[in-house]
């Protein structure tokens, strides 16, 4: 502990470098984007670009390093694919699809609703809809996922579910294992909010939302006290149960994600603690957190239709909210700037990046990473 404190004390008390040299900027850009130091020739090329006032060109050179995809992006998105939020999890179809989308610069909002999927023909282990061995083997073989011939784009509807049931990484097999397994199909929405809108339910707790979507498996008088329901349970369940219907036909069984159109999975309506509670009868959903003037509409700014049918329309709504763009901009800031945006300048920088990400940059994750890293490294 003393060693740690001593080390950090030196780090924290060290004098700021008055003027960061182009060479040091190039060094940092490469280390943070690719996860490894640049080779001397690359460093010289990047330094020249920075010195010439073109730091974005230098950042793009770092992006071209295979380790940007194989290490930085892979470790970044892995923690979004499991309940433990760990980057030490096995590689899987959720993570493979996300890094594929980033590598191919597909608009990143489609990660939540597009009919996109990635497989690895040279994995050495055949792809299967009930196993993750295909992806695990590819990672253990240290295949180069930055190569489009290795990590290959496909349609998810050709592998897993019918096209009308596909919703980006949300309906991958790994998502099924992590977020649809057992439970009552509430977990998938919670982790979507955590991973892609950067808000857990406690952070969007709102007891003013109407309660008519709350399922009958939610106790109305927990501990014999209805105030607990009204002041606590409602804050999360009123909103989340309105969204849950989108997943009425999804489940995870026999190690596969399943979709049974027209047949609501039993686990959603099984528990009956309050018979007047909502019974889910189809896959319609309504976002009550998007009611005009409510705290969460002001915070996450949902746009377009805030009610619909099925997972794809729900996740399209989420992906097009300002909350999604804000979250991606914040995550990228933390990834390449190595800190949280806590002061006013950093918050304004992140907000500006988010607005550009969702508009002129058309949800390009690569552009978001380049502009964020240049902003906090080259312009510091």
């Amino acid at each position: 502990m003393k060693l740690q404190l001593l080390m950090l004390t030196f780090v924290l008390s060290a004098p700021a470098i008055a003027q960061t040299s182009p060479r040091e900027i190039a060094w940092k850009l490469h280390n943070r984007i690719a996860g490894v130091p640049p080779r001397p020739t690359m460093l010289a090329s990047m330094e020249a670009e920075v010195a010439a006032g073109r730091p974005e060109v230098a950042a793009n050179m770092a992006l071209a390093n295979p380790n940007f995809i194989n290490i930085t992006m892979k470790n970044w998105v892995k923690s979004w694919s499991n309940r433990e939020q760990s980057n030490r999890a096995d590689f899987n179809d959720h993570s493979a699809t996300l890094i594929g989308i980033i590598r191919d610069d597909i608009p990143f909002d489609q990660a939540l609703y597009g009919d996109i999927y990635y497989t690895i023909p040279t994995s050495g282990t055949a792809w299967a809809n009930n196993s993750n061995a295909h992806y695990r083997a590819a990672e253990q073989s240290r295949l180069n996922f930055a190569d489009a011939a290795v990590l290959v784009r496909e349609a998810q509807s050709a592998r897993l579910l019918p096209a009308n049931a596909v919703s980006g990484v949300i309906t991958t097999r790994q998502s099924g294992e992590a977020f649809f397994q057992a439970g009552t199909n509430r977990r998938i929405n919670r982790f979507t909010f955590m991973n892609f809108l950067c808000n857990d339910y406690e952070q969007i707790h709102d007891v003013t939302v109407p309660t008519y979507h709350i399922g009958r498996d939610v106790e109305r008088t927990p501990g014999g006290d209805s105030r607990t329901f009204l002041n606590k349970c409602v804050g999360c369940h009123a909103g989340q149960d309105g969204l849950r219907g989108a997943y009425a036909y999804y489940d995870y069984s026999n190690n596969m994600i399943t979709h049974t159109p027209g047949a609501v999975v039993a686990k959603i309506n099984r528990n009956n603690l309050y018979s007047s509670g909502k019974i889910t009868v189809n896959d319609s959903w309504e976002n009550l957190w998007a009611l005009p003037g409510t705290q969460n509409q002001n915070k996450l700014v949902f746009k377009g239709a805030v009610a619909g049918v099925g997972a794809k329309s729900l996740n399209q709504m989420l992906a097009r909210s300002e909350g999604f763009s804000n979250c991606m901009a914040k995550k990228v800031f933390e990834l390449v700037c190595m800190k949280e945006p806590v002061n006013a300048d950093d918050k304004a920088f992140v907000a500006a990046n988010a607005r550009r990400f969702e508009s002129t940059d058309a949800y390009s994750m690569k552009k978001l990473i380049v502009k964020t890293s240049v902003g906090c490294i080259a312009n510091e």
């Binding site: 924290l12 008390s13 960061t20 996860g35 130091p37 760990s86 240290r142």
Partner: protein
């Protein structure tokens, strides 16, 4: 590398990490001035412990995670991550290497794991003929055929070439670099002096491996 050399390498690299790393941190710790290891809260109330000061301070540097460290070592030494001995060493320490990029959670156990991995990369680099091209490019020639007392052996050049190769030439302020290089030179001399047969070429190899390990596992490589 035997245990004595390993311990010396660990000690020296930690000294280097603590004593020379000065990558910038722009924001001062929250909570006002600090005296005698504690500081006052903004309200003038309870004194903050050093741990609390560190927890609330904002840093803008990150720590490489387990995979970033492994691939950084491979990139710098030219020894691939697939090398059998390196791969075995990585498997042995992987769980102890840092998981996240949060520098504040760095533990001494992380640093020991980093050093163990670096030691194997350096062992392969110096002793495995497959990597002679990388070895010569990093340390120069002739090095490994000369005993430490041979006038032809330029240990200053070895240290300078090692730091340039691993830390990047022209990245670190010169005064800071001079201090680090001096420590590495001392390490080189200590390894030679403590060896039972100090004036044979094999001892040069041991000393170079120690310098290599200390430089490779330092914060200049693992902090970004």
């Amino acid at each position: 590398m035997n245990n004595t050399h390993y311990k010396i390498a660990v000690f020296v690299l930690l000294t280097i990490v603590v004593g020379t790393f000065t990558h910038c941190v722009q924001n001062a710790p929250v909570g006002g001035s600090s005296t005698s290891g504690s500081s006052r809260s903004p309200s003038g109330g309870t004194a903050q412990t050093p741990e609390q000061v560190l927890n609330t301070a904002q840093v803008d540097v990150g720590l490489k995670n387990f995979e970033q460290i492994n691939y950084s070592f491979a990139e710098l030494t030219g020894v691939p991550v697939s090398n059998a001995q390196v791969s075995a060493a990585y498997t042995a320490v992987e769980a102890t290497l840092p998981s996240e990029n949060e520098v504040k959670v760095l533990q001494s156990s992380n640093q020991v794991a980093i050093t163990r991995l670096a030691a194997e990369y350096c062992n392969q680099l110096v002793t495995n003929g497959t990597f002679s091209a990388s070895r010569d490019a990093i340390f120069g020639t002739p090095v490994f055929t000369l005993a430490p007392n041979n006038a032809m052996l330029d240990k200053v050049a070895i240290v300078n070439r090692t730091t340039n190769a691993f830390w990047g030439a022209g990245i670190i302020p010169q005064a800071e670099l001079d201090v680090a290089r001096l420590e590495l030179l001392n390490l080189f001399d200590d390894i030679v002096m403590m060896d039972a047969t100090p004036n044979v070429a094999a001892t040069t190899s041991k000393a170079v491996r120690a310098v290599c390990t200390a430089a490779l596992s330092s914060a200049y490589v693992t902090i970004m």
